[in-house]
């Protein structure tokens, strides 16, 4: 535990007395005091059967008191000392929660989000059948959604200052790496916006097709549809390398002659190998009217979980 933890007054007392006092402190919600008392149990009676439980209870009390650093410290100790204990699953899960609670908004440092993802994934990997795996899975989705939110925030910044290539890379990152998150529809729409401002009409149409096919009811598709429904035919001017182009010096500011004379665009524009949607880009479907029930892309629960998990107490005080 960190060095600034106030040492409980050091008086030797029978273990049961300290333990029940700590339990009452939890019930009264005095988590800080409870954590110190559980710490005392472990310190004075390390070999009693209570010590192991006290170690976990100390972590739980620290977690409730939002002292995440201390909670993680004592959880790590529990995990290393009692790898075989049936409650080690809960220890991993609580550790994931400690990081999860510290997730700050997308525009700031996301280290706790990454740590939370790592420890929650460990819960699923080691204890797939434990009661905590289900909630860990839900929290993993929300954490990944959060990381996707950060990519979008940076992408929107680059777009707002006209750095379209940088914005495009960030939005592509969301589409490629975070496919199951709530940000994909917006990412696809942003890609359409960026492709259009760069003149890549063909790519804009393709991205619109993917968005229309996968999220027909989404507002984002409505926005995209308005942008792409009456686009001119995309033109790509072939670079004719036969005529020796004037030797433009290496990236000097002097604007070199445009590559090749503007030649009529080739007719047979091969249809893009659209693997996801079967709809050809030409016949983009009009967006469906939103049904009254929940829209596909807004997720209810926020990562910051107000109510702490009560399941654990049942185990402890139950028997």
């Amino acid at each position: 535990c960190s060095s600034d933890e106030k040492e409980a007054p050091y008086i030797e007392r029978p273990v049961e007395q300290i333990y029940s006092e700590a339990g009452n402190a939890i019930d009264r919600g005095e988590y800080q005091k409870a954590a110190l008392l559980f710490g005392a149990v472990e310190q004075q009676h390390p070999y009693s059967t209570w010590a192991m439980r006290a170690e976990l209870m100390a972590a739980y009390a620290y977690y409730q008191a939002n002292k995440y650093e201390e909670a993680i410290g004592s959880l790590d100790r529990f995990i290393s000392l009692h790898p075989g204990n049936p409650n080690v699953a809960y220890a991993y899960y609580l550790k994931g929660l400690c990081y999860y609670e510290q997730i700050s908004d997308v525009r700031r440092d996301q280290t706790p989000t990454v740590q939370s993802l790592k420890s929650l994934e460990e819960v699923i990997r080691r204890f797939p059948t434990s009661p905590y795996a289900r909630d860990a899975k839900l929290k993993i989705d929300l954490t990944r959604d959060h990381l996707a939110g950060k990519e979008m925030d940076i992408g929107r910044y680059y777009q707002s200052v006209g750095l379209n290539l940088a914005a495009m890379k960030r939005f592509r990152q969301v589409v490629d790496q975070y496919q199951s998150t709530s940000h994909v529809p917006e990412a696809l729409h942003r890609l359409v916006e960026v492709y259009l401002s760069l003149g890549m009409l063909d790519e804009a149409r393709k991205a619109a097709a993917v968005l229309g096919y996968n999220y027909p009811g989404s507002d984002w598709y409505q926005n995209t549809y308005d942008l792409v429904k009456d686009l001119p035919k995309p033109r790509v001017i072939p670079v004719n390398l036969t005529a020796q182009p004037a030797d433009t010096p290496a990236a000097t500011p002097a604007a070199g002659p445009r590559a090749g004379a503007p030649v009529a665009a080739p007719e047979g524009q091969t249809a893009p190998a659209v693997d996801k949607p079967d709809a050809k880009p030409a016949d983009l479907k009009a967006p469906e009217q939103k049904t009254t029930d929940q829209k596909a892309d807004d997720k209810g629960e926020k990562p910051r979980q107000e109510s702490k998990d009560r399941g654990f107490l049942g185990w402890l005080f139950g028997d």
Partner: protein, 134 residues
């Protein structure tokens, strides 16, 4: 007074294009000559794009583009260059981005919290400070 000049993205000069020959050059040749593609097509990994520009910005005005190029290099299924072309930049659309955002959550730093500086994560002590005077 001279505006600040910026090199954005991967602006392919014609000189470097001379080493790329449709029908013979493979993806590795293009990678060696022009570098990694700025991006690939959303749906088709066989279409590479090289996007680059030189911009000048003065004071706080929007940067104006001195030179820009969006080069498209398409490969056939064997990964050999089938076509090279410039996207027609006159087709660039002037769009204003949608200002709606997909909601995200997470703990917002409040003013008081910043003033008191008691963020719930302790700052790691910098060991330089531990050297301390004699």
């Amino acid at each position: 007074c001279t505006p600040t000049v910026n090199n954005r993205g991967n602006l392919v000069e014609d000189r470097r294009l001379a080493d790329v020959h449709p029908g013979t050059s493979t993806k590795e040749d293009v990678q060696k000559a022009l570098g990694s593609p700025s991006t690939t097509s959303t749906l088709d990994a066989n279409v590479w794009y090289y996007i680059g520009a030189i911009t000048e910005n003065e004071a706080f005005f929007d940067p104006d583009i001195v030179q820009q190029r969006v080069l498209q290099v398409s490969f056939n299924d064997q990964g050999v260059v089938s076509a090279i072309g410039d996207v027609d930049l006159t087709q660039q659309q002037d769009i204003s981005p949608e200002d709606r955002e997909t909601p995200t959550a997470g703990h917002e730093v409040t003013f008081l919290e910043q003033l008191m500086g008691n963020l719930n994560r302790e700052k790691k002590k910098d060991d330089k400070k531990k050297k301390g005077g004699g």
